[in-house]
């Protein structure tokens, strides 16, 4: 267990901690249910990347964002999307590949999105969604919307050149962009120090002329403060990079048992639990009583159980939907191979 004693012992005025905690607690619960969905054979495939242990990045950074701000996420983006307001039932249904999901079962866990919430898309390509925020930043400036655009990605994405191309553009054009690196120490089986000679990732951003910080993800308030500061800067045209240090509690995807890291490390890593830490702080500061938290637990568990039930009750998308949305609705759908074969064979 985390030992919050001695850290922020006093409640801050108008503490946002209860809100952060609620967001994080919902993420944790959601992700646990995703695991359950998989075990029950109701998820579409095993490419499920849980963000357990990383909840403070989602809660802290998203708290600094406003309605209308846009963002892209990576393959481990459930938590961020939830923190920006997603409906867990439609998310879960998407993860189950069901028609009622956000993307009608076409996207799944790695391509979940809701444009209405400013979510420009999750991505299964490591680094694939980063450059989009440069364009969204250009649009924000063009329309004078005052909006920022944030790219969320993992430490592994710091291996992708497009990150540096994008940060360079953002700095050059002074765009309202935020680059959020959720450093859970691993890209699959590769620890960050096995992927770079200098794991102080924010130094790269500084070298390109962005603002850059690293924050300890155990402490959601610290994340939220750093994010608030950097988002404010970004809104004024000083793009920024924020690395949130945390630990990937479980395997890379549902089937990975992380044999490449030792138990001691995992145990230590899992002690850096931002949800437990925040819970302890809430109690300690008198911002919540055990009973309140237990009630919250039940409420959230019920919500997430309902998401599972909803998902299981939903249908797979109809085969005919396959040709829909390749192009805009007003355009003809691509001709099915079967129809083409029919035409060729029925030519007499």
């Amino acid at each position: 267990m985390t030992k919050p004693e001695g850290r922020h012992p006093a409640a801050r005025p108008n503490s946002a901690l209860p809100r952060h905690y609620r967001v994080m607690r919902r993420i944790r619960s959601f992700e646990e249910r995703v695991g359950e969905l998989f075990v029950r054979g109701q998820s579409a495939g095993s490419m499920l990347h849980l963000s357990i242990g990383e909840e403070s990045a989602a809660a802290g950074v998203c708290a600094a964002m406003e309605g209308g701000d846009t963002f892209t996420t990576h393959h481990r983006g459930h938590g961020i999307f939830l923190a920006r307001g997603a409906d867990p039932a439609r998310m879960m249904a998407e993860i189950g590949g069901k028609e009622a999901g956000y993307c009608h079962g076409k996207g799944g866990s790695m391509h979940i999105a809701d444009m209405g919430l400013g979510h420009l898309g999750a991505n299964a390509i490591v680094g694939g969604g980063i450059a989009a925020v440069v364009g969204a930043g250009l649009a924000a400036r063009h329309f004078g919307s005052g909006r920022i655009s944030a790219a969320f990605f993992g430490d592994g994405a710091t291996g992708q050149g497009i990150l540096y191309e994008s940060m360079n553009m953002a700095a050059l054009w002074r765009l309202p962009c935020l680059f959020v690196c959720i450093n859970n120490q691993y890209g699959m089986g590769t620890r960050i120090d096995q992927a770079t000679a200098n794991p102080r990732l924010h130094e790269r951003a500084l070298a390109f002329g962005l603002a850059g910080e690293t924050v300890d993800g155990l402490d959601v308030e610290a994340v939220a403060e750093a994010a608030a500061r950097l988002v404010a800067g970004a809104r004024r045209g000083q793009p920024a990079f924020l690395a949130v240090d945390c630990y990937r509690f479980y395997g890379h995807a549902r089937k990975d048992k992380s044999p490449y890291r030792d138990t001691a490390e995992e145990e230590a890593g899992r002690r850096k639990d931002p949800v437990a830490h925040a819970r302890a702080l809430l109690l300690q500061r008198g911002l919540a009583a055990e009973t309140d938290l237990a009630a919250l637990d039940s409420e959230i568990d019920a919500e997430m159980d309902a998401a599972i039930d909803f998902t299981i009750a939903q249908k797979e998308p109809p085969l005919s939907s396959m040709f829909r949305d390749v192009y805009a609705p007003e355009e003809p759908e691509p001709e099915p191979v079967r129809a083409r074969i029919d035409r060729v064979l029925a030519r007499d």
Partner: protein, 331 residues
Amino acid sequence: MALQELTYRDALRQALINAMRENPDVVIIGEEVGRYGGAYAVTKDLIKEFGAERVIDTPISEPAIVGAAVGAAMAGLRPVAELMYVDFIGMTMDQLGNQAAKIRYMFGGQIGVPMVLRTQGGTGRSAGAQHSQSLEAYVMHTPGLRLAMPATVADAYHLLRQALTRPDPVVFIEHKALYTMKETVDLDVPPLPWGRSAVRRTGKDLVIVTYSRQLHHVMDAAGKLAAEGIEATVIDLRTLNPLDFEPIREHVERVGRAMVVSEGAMTAGVAAELSARISEECFDFLEDPVVRVAGEDIPISVSPTLEAGSVPGVRLIADTARRMVSGRVAA
């Protein structure tokens, strides 16, 4: 407006100018598009009228240029991204093929990516293996991407204007050897609708299907052939996605012989698709196999001799047509 003499380059430029005047959300993003005016001068002086916020000079970062355009399109702009050479499309195939092409679909139709990626390709400048390719097949093979390849001055204008109204990403490939080509055009004459091919010439002996610069080689060859009494129907595809197959069918069924001409490498290229499609759909009308006249399956050399030899030219097209029509005399 009236008739005017215009180059392909100026027609493209005019299309951009008119689109930008009409729609304040059209922005251009690319290397050297602003102050320099474009490597092939298509965006010359646009920065003066529209400013550096709409004609955006970028660092040399092709992946992020395309990626930024994707994001810009999703966020409400109407970006025209520019790749200086289609040869650089390799760097961008992830952003193009995995992002731009799939976003509407992956997200269940929530949003589209209405962007245009302008670029240019082909041989003609002794520019060597990395600056002379015809890579349209990569695009044509990628579901979700539209593909326009204008051959004429009027099409340079109209297809670019239309591309800028399409709801889905359009890859727009110009040909470097056409920029200085002139035509007398009246841009006010209503164009063909988007997605339609043009029958550039009608004849009874064979159908030649082509696009982009090869149209001119084909027309030259057809002129020569006509002088010998061989009449070719020439179809200019204009867009490869959508592909307007009906006119091809109609003419091939009438004429019974088809050649397809593409500057791209032959194997698994656009010519293969056209040939396969014609054979499938017009089989009973074909007197002879569809013949592919396409780029060699080799890189392009800087030597002008080898460069010219690597892609179809008037002579090969005319020779092949003659042999197809005249009972296949071996060369």
